[in-house]
Amino acid sequence: MNHTLLKSIFSFVLFCLVVGASFAQNRVITGKVTAASDGSSMPGVNVTLKGSPTGVTTDGDGNYRISVPTGKVTLVYSFIGMLPQEVNVGNRASVNVELAENPTQLTEVVVTGYNSTQKKDILGSITSISPSKFKDIPVAGFDQALQGQAAGVQVTQSSGTPGGGVAVRIRGNTSISASNRPLFVVDGIPVMDEAISGRGFGGQNDNSLSFVNPNDIESMQVLKDASAKAIYGSRAANGVVLITTKRGKNNARTSVTVDAQRGAIDIVKKVDLLNSQELLELQREAVTNAGQDPDRRGLIAGVTDAVNTDWLDEVLRRGIYQQYQVSASGGNDKTKFYISGALRDEEGVQLNNRFTRYSGTANFDHKINQRASIGTNVLLAFTTNDRVKGDNFLDGVYSGAIKSLPWFAPYNEQGKLYGPGSPNYPGFPNFNPVAQALLPRFRTYGTKILAGMNAQYEIIKNLRLNSKISLDYNNSEEDQYESSATAIGGFLPSVGGQGYGVYITNTLYTLLNSNTLTYDVAFNEKHHLNALLGAEILQSKNRNSFATGRVFPSDDFTYINSAAVQDQAGSGFAQNGLLSGFGEFRYDFKEKYLATFTARYDGSSRFGPSRRFGFFPSFSVGWRLSEEPWMKSLTFVQDVKLRASYGYTGNERIGNFTYLGTWGASTYSGATGVSPNNLNNPFLQWERTREANVGLDASFWSGRLSVILEAYDNLTDNLLFNQPLPLTTGFGGFQGNIGNIANRGLELTISSVNIDHSGTRGLRWNTDLNLSHNQNKVVSLVDDKPLFRGYQGNGVSATNVILPGHPLGTFWGLKALGVDVATGDALYEDFNKDGRITPDDAQVIGTAQPLLIGGLTNRISWRNFDLSFFFQFTYGNKILNFANTTLVNTGADLENNQTRAALRRWQKPGDVTDVPRYVLGNTFNNFHSSRFLEDGSYLRLKNVAFGYNLPSRWLNKVKINNARLYVTGVNLWTLTAYSGADPEVSTLDGSTSAQGIDFFTLPQTRNVTVGLTIGF
């Protein structure tokens, strides 16, 4: 298309406009445009007459009024980010239209870190997730909302604990020692993403990301390759998640939305445990097999098994979930705002477990004049988390319930809880889990303030200065008391003895100042250049303190003020900082050939003075094939773009001062001195990831079908690694930069609108599918010796290993060869062929890394109804059912209940089974082996939502703009071969080298929620 042609078309259009306006016979059509997703009114929609330039836009309430010629006409409704609609008007005078979201959204403006660009011009690997994808799901935080929604993003909720930990991994694990969490940036502020409370709860942490209300989120972008991430330099290796909160719109009427959700929460599945009679029979057999007399041990049928308690039923309940939110937004030509307030209250399925969040947002933007504008964003959250201990704690609630012998009981005849020392539940190794749930007070108060001020100023035309000062403030106060009838408060005299009170405070805050200059210029209408330069200062500080008290007058006194002994307290302070400069240059030629260069220069306080600064460049190119003349003839093609990127990112998330050789305070007999603490390494530096990515973005049939295909090859070197040393050096290891980890993968995303009659309120069906495969491998380490991680295993060094040639999350143990048919003893592979089974026979037995993960969402709408269902799956990973070393322990001890699998045990010669014989005190049969490793693949119907938009003719009478009633179900159905309660599990919350372990972890929950959204 040349210039002359363009000019002639333009002249023709202009001519038509003039002529049309003067000669046509006109009539008026009115109507209202609403969003198909929630029925809200849509201001600013273009309504045009097909084949003519006549057009209007809808007003603040979504109403329009257009004058058209008489006769049959077709109106075209279009809006950025929505699929355009053509409606044959006929003779109607009023036409109401619903617009559906365009899954491709090519012209949507996407935030890319410090800058923004149109979606079609992106050269990096960025996945946008719109809140419509999770608005019905009762997720606590946006990390949960990412689950299954983006290719290359693996999200694992560690347990069914409300407000608990969620592991987010983007394109695999890049680090052994440093954090593997992505960088989460909310409205430009990198936010604290870790557990904030100080005391361990047996594996399950709390989660500071659950402090942000997902309903306040406007959009989320996941940055996956170097081109997208390098602007975040030293913190970007694990990927970046950008979150933008909602803001008002200019010239929109003020709308108020009220949203209420209420539901019930149940555990997905209970472990199948033995009853008293079955367990007694099993224990008698184990004692007899050990050559002892079970009667003498007091294991007597009819006596021992007189009581039969289902402990899981005793500690679990149906929790009530509720969330209420009010938000308002609007604006005039100068000022716009969004404010919201919400209450979320979630009862855990474990007794006494509850998470409550009060949150609020206030975002304002104001245009001072043509050149200057200012804005603020404020997000406040207060949480109360009533926690219970779990997992790897003897006094855990769920873990205690699983292990408790069924012939004990929680209450005596008077309804009083049995405490430690009582013969009906003596305590140790397990403690009355009902008492452990009900008696302690483990309340964590959380506060989060995320606030920022920003100003933009256009210095000269197209040259903009953007300056921002932000704060991310997180505080937790843990108010705890364990009564004298609990394990800690009563059983252990060296700790509590007579009540045990703890108070812990932890405050972490980050101050950030970032300043950017952007310049946008075009030459000859062919060359287009966008440049960005920026500088940033970031400082994080941490203050913490704790105090404990023991020996309380009675359990009516629960605060440390009343404790007789207050002999343990402490306080601490830490800080770290980052000083950075960064830049981005984007260039395109006629939007056909595109290139971007991005780089960041970071200085971090965490590294040795000579290695303090790091440079992280990236370069990417793109070719929009669809702009080539030979492709223009293919009219079904909307857009096709090939892109490639290459660059470097880093990881600096390790402790402070690990580069410095240091001595720490130590004590002896009441005197204080110093002891060696850390070995010196002045050359300690970043972990660096080299990333290469190629991608193909294609969309067809006006965006009805879009496909994204990506392949990447990443190599992390200079691993921040606590290099182990033999203890003969006086140290266990030192922080170094050694080793490589590779991640290679493929990602496929397909979005399609299969059927679309939404313009006429008919059937609409669209599908989103994402699949990802990541291959993780430790390429090299200090040497080829195994590094042990995870739990200590019976008869082997550990449950997990880090070994070159194998992925992170590799399981270690003996290889089980089944059960000897003749003797009933376990058979293990004599790996080193020395004729004996020793720890040296342990080998790699599997990995927690899946071969394929993915998500599939289908959304169907018809008239006022909509239905969506979302499947999530993982395939090819192993789970270590470590709980079974206790629950199918082949008689190693008699203190714990067993699962139904124990009934399959070997009993007599000739029995062919996978469970060895039960012999009291025998540890050999219970050695850590592949017997405890299971296929962890699963397909889960993660979420189903069914909604009904109330007809506007009803609503208009009560001045309601839109109303939607919906029901959602979470985790309703799961297909898995895993024998434990839940395949979606990780006891060591957030661990990289020991992921995928089930050690008495509370399973996920099944939530059924009813909700109502009303817009005014």
Partner: protein
């Protein structure tokens, strides 16, 4: 435009001005290496660090000494203790690493002191001599403990990490010779000390008597009876220690019997840690006294020494006999210290040395000193009978039993059985799982993996 330049300049200067504060914050509550020991007042803090490191060895040594032998049965959930209860000890057992780590942390800090002390300015000659002697004493004791537990171990003579990460095993004789040299040298400059300093100082830090006691034990283990008798006699003759009522041995920190004792306060009590003695013996009761041991410790010969254990009938049931070892209490009970040497052991060493030299009368009189003490608060009918003269082997048998009554759960039993050559006989009778390989502890699995010079040097059988 000018205004804009000022604005940009302002932003940049803001950024650069705070650069040092952002990127080089001062370390908090830690000391960089170069500031640790470079003036006179630093000597005291590093000296405390040496005692702290040595103290780390005390609890694993007690556990290895008593739990490897015929005193205990497993009653908990920890694999480490299950292995000890069942006598299925592996090289992955955490106690091996804990003791080994304790030995070499002590050696590291002591080597650091010995390397640095000569060059630290302003240290008085007296202080330099004293701390040098203490460092040698602690290092010698560490080597002695290492060699008697593992056999030959690496001989680490420097603080240089590069050297120390690939050190092969030296012979047991070489390590024992090092230990002897260190302890002998320390004897010269260690203070005599006095109970008037307070027992927490007198027994809490190394004295000449601590070194003499160490030498007495050393010569007992190396079967040099004359020297063993001589050093034990020297300690007894100083008259600075009293045989207190046995209940005070069980229940009181820094009682007047104590020669060298590792002090804990409430603030640094091991609490619920995996190797905290109170936690393992009283709190979790991971191990409980074996029935055969209970029979022995509660018989009349033992007398008041049965206070080592206590029974709670409420805990009886299943495999649990209800007994607990109560020698290690809580900070509140003022009973959380770990004794390294006390006077009664000197009498036992001398008795054994005398018996081996056929001085039966001397041996019997030493034994009866302890028997008398063990019946001090009992009626005549309950008092332990006095030992009467017998053959040498009879008396040695009495001494073996007397060491059980007197020293059980202070980390001696397994070492005694091994050094007297009685391990195989006694332990095989106790459990069919006993294997001669258990006369030495395995070198920690991780050490063999991390130190290439140790490859293939594991003790036989592990």
């Amino acid at each position: 435009m000018k205004k804009n330049k000022i604005l940009v300049g302002l932003v940049l200067s803001l950024a650069l001005g705070s650069c040092t504060e952002i990127l080089s914050p001062k370390p908090i509550d830690i000391l960089a290496d170069q500031f640790v020991l470079n003036e006179a007042k630093d000597v005291q803090t590093v000296r405390i660090g040496a005692y702290n490191a040595f103290r780390g060895m005390a609890s694993p040594k007690v556990m290895i000494g008593d739990f490897t032998a015929d005193f205990i049965q497993h009653n908990g959930t920890f694999t480490d203790y299950q292995e000890l209860g069942n006598k299925q000890i592996t090289a992955a057992n955490g106690l091996a690493g804990a003791l080994w780590g304790g030995v070499y942390s002590t050696v590291y800090v002591c080597n650091f002191l010995l390397e640095k002390l000569p060059t630290v300015p302003g240290v008085t000659e007296a202080d330099r001599k004293l701390v040098t002697a203490e460092a040698k004493f602690l290092r010698g004791m560490a080597y002695f403990t290492g060699a008697t537990t593992f056999g030959g171990i690496p001989n680490v003579t420097t603080t240089d990490v590069t050297t120390n990460r690939t050190v092969a095993r030296a012979s047991k004789d070489e390590i024992m010779a090092n230990a002897l040299k260190d302890i002998q040298e320390s004897l010269t400059d260690l203070p005599e000390g006095s109970p008037t300093q307070g027992r927490a100082i007198f027994a809490g830090y190394a004295t000449k008597n601590a070194a003499r006691a160490a030498l007495a034990r050393y010569y007992l283990y190396t079967r040099n009876w004359t020297q063993a008798e001589q050093f034990a006699s020297q300690v007894i003759a100083t008259n600075r220690y009293d045989l207190v009522s046995y209940i005070d041995v069980v229940a009181r920190d820094f009682n007047p019997e104590s020669i060298f004792e590792m002090g804990y306060t409430a603030a640094d009590d091991p609490g619920t840690s995996n190797f905290g003695l109170n936690n393992i013996l009283v709190g979790r009761r991971e191990v409980i006294p074996a029935n055969s041991y209970i029979t022995l410790i509660t018989n009349r010969e033992s007398g008041e020494r049965s206070a080592t254990v206590d029974i709670d009938f409420g805990k009886q049931g299943g495999g649990d006999n209800g007994w607990s070892v109560v020698k290690y209490g809580t900070p509140d009970e003022d009973n959380n210290n770990i004794v390294i040497f006390r006077l009664a052991e000197m009498y036992l060493i001398r008795a054994e040395a005398r018996a081996q030299q056929a001085n039966i009368t001397g041996a019997v009189s030493d034994l009866n000193v302890l028997r008398t003490r063990a019946g001090r608060n009992l009626t005549a009918a309950q008092r332990p009978p006095m030992v009467v003269a017998g053959t040498q082997s009879e008396i040695l048998g009495v001494i073996e039993r007397e060491r059980v009554y007197e020293l059980s759960f202070e980390g001696h039993r397994w070492y005694d059985l091994v050094r007297t050559g009685r391990a195989q006989a006694v332990m095989s009778a106790f459990t069919p799982n006993w294997n001669q390989k258990y006369e030495l502890w395995p070198i920690p699995q991780t050490e063999i993996q991390r130190n290439s010079a140790l490859a293939g040097q594991q003790n036989p059988g592990y």
